[in-house]
């Protein structure tokens, strides 16, 4: 880790005033400290935003939707009564990430903005495409945990479990700068390699993520989230799915199905969503939707297993969201 100077920001304006090429922002510090220790980042100045007041609250309810401060910890999201009851996919995504210790430290904003876990990206020995090099080493290297969709340029999987749930729930992020505030739909916030090779989202250099906004779900809508790792705890997902199923009478009026650990951004399974619309949710329709969700996958040499895995995880998550046993 390099030596750096330290600034405590206590307000949003102070934090924004510190943004710039010489500064790296730190909230919970989990991903930032990893990156500093791995030598991926070596900023002259570390700006501590954990001390910014008022960004650690969860506001709202099932009827109004949620406004989640970026400094809310994953542990707090996991047990918050409203999130747990009405936004199950979000609570479960937070509650299954990493370990209890890390969830006590890691923040919602940091989870969305963390850098990818691709081992070529994380290793200072590989000057990969994402770091300005000319090769994506995962294309022909060790790629068992890499993307099965959208992987032709860079095969990272997006590392944020909250991001997967947030896209499924139709959520947004609020970004503030000295120019003002803007709200960006999560689905448009995360950027694929073709749009931004050296970063994973549309956060501008002078912007601070100041809130995560989740719209209310319809009265007949239910969400669910499933994570599968190689171990039951303390592991990154090899497949995760967040789904929302909304019904009108006996039929599904709207389904939202998003795959995480599948692509460089949270991956919406549009064909599967279309297939379910207007039909009842049964074991058969869930199976058909799951098959549609993996159509067009382009697995690499060592991650073909993920295609089958995702088919099963999509099916299970849909049945879970729809309350079909």
């Amino acid at each position: 880790m390099n030596a750096f100077e330290w600034v405590n920001a206590t307000t949003v304006d102070e934090a924004i005033g510190q943004l710039g090429a010489a500064s790296l922002l730190k909230a919970g510090g989990v991903d930032v400290l990893d990156r500093l220790k791995e030598g991926l980042d070596a900023p002259p100045r570390l700006v501590n935003i954990r001390t910014v007041k008022g960004l650690d609250r969860i506001e709202g309810d099932a009827a109004t939707g949620l406004r989640i401060g970026p400094l809310v910890t994953l542990a707090a999201l996991d047990v918050h009564p409203v999130v747990r009851k009405s936004f199950v996919a979000l609570a479960d995504a937070a509650g299954h990430a990493a370990t209890p210790q890390i969830r006590n430290m890691a923040t919602a904003g940091g989870n969305l903005l963390q850098r990818p876990r691709c081992w070529y990206f994380r290793s200072r020995d590989f000057h990969c495409l994402k770091k300005g090099g000319d090769t994506c080493f995962s294309q022909h290297g060790e790629n068992q945990y890499h993307a099965i969709f959208g992987n032709e340029i860079c095969a990272i999987v997006h590392p944020s479990a909250l991001g997967t749930a947030l896209v499924a729930l139709g959520g947004s992020v609020e970004l503030a700068s000295s120019r003002g505030k803007r709200i960006v739909l999560a689905e448009q916030f995360f950027l694929p390699p073709a749009a931004a090779l050296e970063r994973e989202n549309g956060l501008a250099e002078d912007e601070l993520l100041t809130a995560i906004v989740v719209p209310p779900l319809g009265a007949s809508a239910r969400s669910a989230y499933t994570k599968v790792g190689e171990k039951e705890s303390f592991d990154w997902p090899i497949a995760e799915v967040a789904a929302v199923v909304e019904r009108s009478g006996a039929n599904v009026s709207r389904a939202s199905i998003v795959l995480g650990a599948a692509a460089p951004v949270p991956h919406r399974a549009t064909a599967a969503e279309k297939l379910l619309a207007g039909k009842p949710l049964t074991r058969e329709t869930a199976r058909a939707a799951a098959r549609a969700a993996i159509e067009g996958a382009t697995p690499l040499s060592e991650n073909r297993y993920k295609v089958t895995l995702f088919e099963n995880v999509v099916r299970r998550t849909l049945l879970d969201a729809g309350g079909v046993r």
Binding site: F4, V7, G29, L46
Partner: protein, 187 residues
């Protein structure tokens, strides 16, 4: 417009090195006032500046759990917390578990069960178990496993650790409980 950060908040570099910073917080109930470089982790500050070497260096990346301490009563990984982030907070290390010469019931149970072999991971397991038992005096085996899932032990295979936590839990609930006969090594 963004307000400028007051100058007092900024560490000025001297001779190319950022200056040391002062932090005040409590460790095991006692106030401490320490001067250290801003890039030092809480783990380094505890071990090197406060001579509390019960907290262990492990992977340094949040993967092994050996460095767990309690900050404001919650277990966190001291290798991923910067020392300056402890400002104003309450830190508890394994040195704070015993009450004078009397071991904490969790320490007592770990010793009886041989739940520590090389002992390197033991402080993290005991501190994390302490928080679990404060919140949940009668945890199931699965709840214990989940709460302790951050820490890796390469010696014990975990069974003795879980049994020790269960024994300590029973004693802390006021029950008469003793180590299982079949768990005693060599019988």
């Amino acid at each position: 417009m963004s307000a400028p950060v007051p100058l007092t908040h900024i560490t000025r570099a001297r001779n190319g090195r950022p200056a040391k910073r002062r932090a005040q917080f409590t460790v095991n109930g006692e106030p401490v006032d320490v001067l250290f470089a801003p890039h030092k982790t809480l783990l380094e500050v505890l071990r090197e500046d406060l001579n509390l070497t019960g907290t262990k260096h492990g992977c340094e990346l949040g993967e092994c759990g050996a460095c767990a301490v309690l900050v404001d009563g919650e277990p966190v990984l001291a290798c991923l917390v910067l020392g300056l982030d402890a400002e104003g907070r309450d830190v508890t290390t394994v040195e704070g578990m015993a009450d004078g010469p009397a071991l904490h019931p969790i320490q007592e149970a770990f010793a009886q069960y041989g739940a520590a072999q090389c002992g390197y991971c033991t402080p993290s397991f005991m501190l994390t178990a302490q928080v679990l038992l404060e919140k949940n005096p009668s945890p199931s085996r699965d709840e214990i496993r989940e709460a302790l899932s951050s820490s890796i032990c390469r010696c014990t295979g975990y069974v003795k650790i879980y049994e020790a936590v269960e024994l300590a839990a029973a004693r802390m609930r006021g029950e008469e409980a003793d180590i299982l006969e079949e768990a005693i090594y060599g019988r």
